[in-house]
């Protein structure tokens, strides 16, 4: 068993928190893990990505080779398109619907959605809207993680425990809110992916 995941988004959207939660869950589930992060730019607003590899045997490369990712999770729809060369034929894409428009030449949204919908397995999720509806705007990333969770090789319970580990410092209330966000996200795709 081996699952390669590319995580994408824009600086400040919480991509690395998603990566951290999956990483903790994978390690605590006894899987081998490699996870690269993009660090370095403090400024917000640039494209960021992370590669996560999980397997039941040792993993060599820290990077995912082109054309081999099983899953692409993106906090932003155009960013999902940017990393398509990583995706394996028939790989799954779970992306936020709401665009983050901070550049003058952002493409027409219709074209972005059309390119996404041309893929064989894609879930465009209203994670931000769901989070806002829950009065937990900062938890949009965890809603999206919930939506992507049926495609991950770790159990929902392990991911919820990992949310506790990663957000534990911020207190009980934040953890509970994020677990609720996770469940709302998971409900979006759970039916579709069975």
């Amino acid at each position: 068993m081996k699952t390669d995941v590319v995580l994408a988004g824009v600086g400040g959207q919480g991509v690395l928190s998603i990566a951290a939660i999956i990483a903790v869950a994978a390690v605590d589930s006894g899987l081998h893990l490699k996870q690269t992060e993009v660090h370095g730019m403090s400024q917000r607003g640039g494209a960021v990505q992370s590669h996560l590899r999980m397997a039941d045997r040792p993993i060599h490369s820290d990077l995912i080779a082109d054309g081999t990712a099983d899953l692409l999770i993106s906090m932003e729809p155009m960013e999902a398109l940017r990393y398509l060369p990583s995706l394996a034929a028939g790989g799954a894409v779970v992306t936020e619907r709401a665009p983050l428009v901070n550049i003058p030449d952002y493409p027409p949204l219709d074209a972005v959605y059309a390119a996404l919908e041309a893929l064989p397995r894609v879930w465009i999720v209203d994670a931000e809207a769901i989070a806002r509806d829950m009065r937990a705007s900062r938890a949009a990333n965890v809603v999206l993680l919930g939506a992507a969770s049926p495609f991950l090789p770790v159990a929902a319970g392990a991911l919820e425990a990992a949310i506790g580990v990663v957000f534990g410092r911020k207190g009980e209330a934040v953890v509970e809110q994020n677990i609720a966000a996770f469940r709302r996200g998971r409900a979006v795709t759970a039916a579709a992916s069975d």
Binding site: V24, V27, D62
Partner: protein, 531 residues
């Protein structure tokens, strides 16, 4: 089981702490920053009182680490690759003095220049200084390199270079910790002249360093970081340095059919290399950064045609390697991308944050310079380098830390008057002060604008070394007090700020304008930490 899934940088830091580290020194720089940050976060380091503060620059950091080593304790100094240029003087000379307590110089290179001005390969410095160099290939090796490196350093009384690259620095994997060693006691060098590099003494020490080269090579032959893995198909042999070994093995999950020499310690183990080259028809060399090993293997001027790598196009001459590039170089079948990037995808370059003080300063500067011919604003490295791009288009240089002030001075010497130097507060403390002294001594009409966002923002908000006394420093260096001005870069102060800059542009001497407002990201983090 304890969960320890560190970044390569964190693994090295923990390895050093577990090996009895007494002092960590450094100046921040991507991708090296998390080494010091891991030591700073460590409860053990706090409990033990391990010294763990950022320094003014890489040179001061390396010298302080050497001082800790002089006193008999184990020291670690961290920097990014270009930082080693700044620290090159103590680095080269510490190779001659040698060390007392173990000294590790951890340098993180950035092939592909993800966030750097160049992709220089620090292994060249290790060879230049004639000291052993370790190049861990995974997180466990990064952890193990610390204790092993300290031992090597103390055994031969030399500094040891640990070379990391972005990918390992910033990638996580599980690591097993080893036994925890106590810190070393304070113990001065047995030879009171060990650190006195007078020519007559230096010549003796240099001969000693040269004599140790054979030992360094023998260590590399038996090092756990170097490994010969035989394989039946000898039409091809592969020499894989550091992390490239992972990219290689990715193609052979059940074992590589070809002989492989994995290299993680230099100087190169000649016997192991000879074994590979003798056994195989062709050899492909995989290395991140410059083709240093490949050049050695090819020799000069004899070209056997059996060695392949970055120099003959088997691999790209520049840039980071990855599994796809390595697979192609070896002729194995690699998956192709199933989907291309749709044409509509636009670039999303980093930008100054909404409300960043630097933006307000650039708007004021651009307006103040209206009426002067363009091309007179020299700048430096930090968040504010984004001022070179639209919408600001405000600066015309970014070369190396501190170069704004000194390049502006040279340009005024050539007749470009006035010239402006735009420099961040951390960069100003790192290497702006000596340049400012040159400007003062020359009386050059350089207008130095210190962008004082009260932090080292670019690398994540570390403290800024001259925080709180930039004006005093400028006056102390001889800038007339009335030409040391302070402005607050805010939209509502715009007109006043333009006026101040114009006044100073009109003055025929050196001016320093401090544009002070805290970085909003740092302020946000500080509020959160306080909350």
């Amino acid at each position: 089981m304890e969960r320890f899934v560190p970044l390569g940088n964190e693994a090295l830091a923990q390895g050093a702490l577990d090996a009895g580290l007494s002092g960590c020194y450094g100046y921040p720089g991507t991708p090296s920053t998390e080494i010091m940050e891991a030591v700073q976060r460590s409860p053990e380091a706090a409990a033990r009182g391990v010294h763990r503060s950022w320094c003014a620059n890489e040179k001061t950091a390396l010298e302080a680490a050497l001082g800790m080593s002089y006193a008999g304790k184990r020291a670690l100094v961290t920097m990014k690759h270009v930082g080693l240029n700044v620290a090159a003087d103590p680095f080269m000379n510490a190779a001659i003095t040698g060390v007392n307590g173990g000294l590790l110089v951890a340098v993180a290179d950035d092939p592909s220049m993800h966030s750097s001005q160049n992709e220089q390969d620090s292994r060249a410095y290790g060879r230049f200084a004639l000291i052993p160099t370790l190049e861990p290939g995974n997180q466990q090796e990064a952890y193990d390199a610390a204790a092993y490196g300290f031992e090597l350093s103390e055994k031969y009384a030399v500094p040891v270079l640990v070379r990391l690259t972005t990918r390992l620095s910033h990638s996580r994997s599980a690591v097993a910790r080893r036994e925890i060693q106590p810190e070393r006691p304070l113990k001065l060098p047995a030879n009171p002249q060990q650190f006195v590099l007078l020519p007559a003494i230096s010549r003796r020490y240099y001969a000693g360093l040269l004599a140790k080269q054979a030992d360094f090579e023998a260590e590399a032959e038996r090092s756990p970081f170097n490994r010969y893995e035989d394989g039946p198909d000898r039409r091809l042999g592969i020499l894989a340095c550091g992390i490239t070994y992972n990219y290689l093995m990715e193609h052979f999950p059940d074992g590589c059919p070809h002989p492989v020499l994995k290299i993680g310690q230099y100087p190169l183990p000649r016997a192991l290399v000879a074994r590979l080259v003798d056994a195989c028809e062709r050899v492909v060399v995989l290395e991140e950064g410059a083709p240093l090993v490949e050049e050695l293997l090819r020799g000069f001027p004899v070209e056997t045609g059996r060695v392949h790598g970055r120099l003959d196009g088997t691999l790209p001459r520049a840039g980071e390697l990855n599994p796809t590039l390595v697979g192609r170089a070896l002729g194995v079948e690699v998956p192709a991308s199933a989907y291309a990037v749709p044409e509509i995808v636009a670039n999303r370059p980093p930008q100054l944050c909404q409300g960043c003080p630097h933006g307000d300063t650039y708007r004021a500067l651009n307006e103040a310079l209206d009426g002067y011919a363009r091309g007179r604003v020299f700048s430096d490295i930090g968040c504010y380098t984004l001022g070179a791009l639209p919408p600001y288009n405000a600066i015309q240089s970014c070369v190396d830390m501190g170069a704004s002030i000194t390049m502006a001075k040279g340009a005024t010497d050539a007749g470009l008057r006035p010239a402006v130097a735009v420099i961040g507060d951390s960069t100003f403390s790192h290497s702006g002060l000596t340049g400012l002294l040159d400007v003062v001594n020359a009386g050059a009409p350089v207008k130095v604008i210190v962008l004082d966002n009260e932090t080292t923002a670019m690398t994540g908000g570390q403290p800024s070394p001259a925080h709180g006394h930039i004006e005093q420093v400028a006056i102390g260096l001889g800038v007339p007090a009335e030409h040391v001005r302070t402005i607050t870069p805010l939209p509502r102060q715009h007109a006043q700020n333009v006026a101040v800059i114009r006044e100073e542009l009109a003055y025929e001497g050196v001016s320093v304008i401090v544009a002070r407002r805290e970085c909003i990201e740092t302020a946000r983090r500080r509020r959160r930490a306080g909350a």
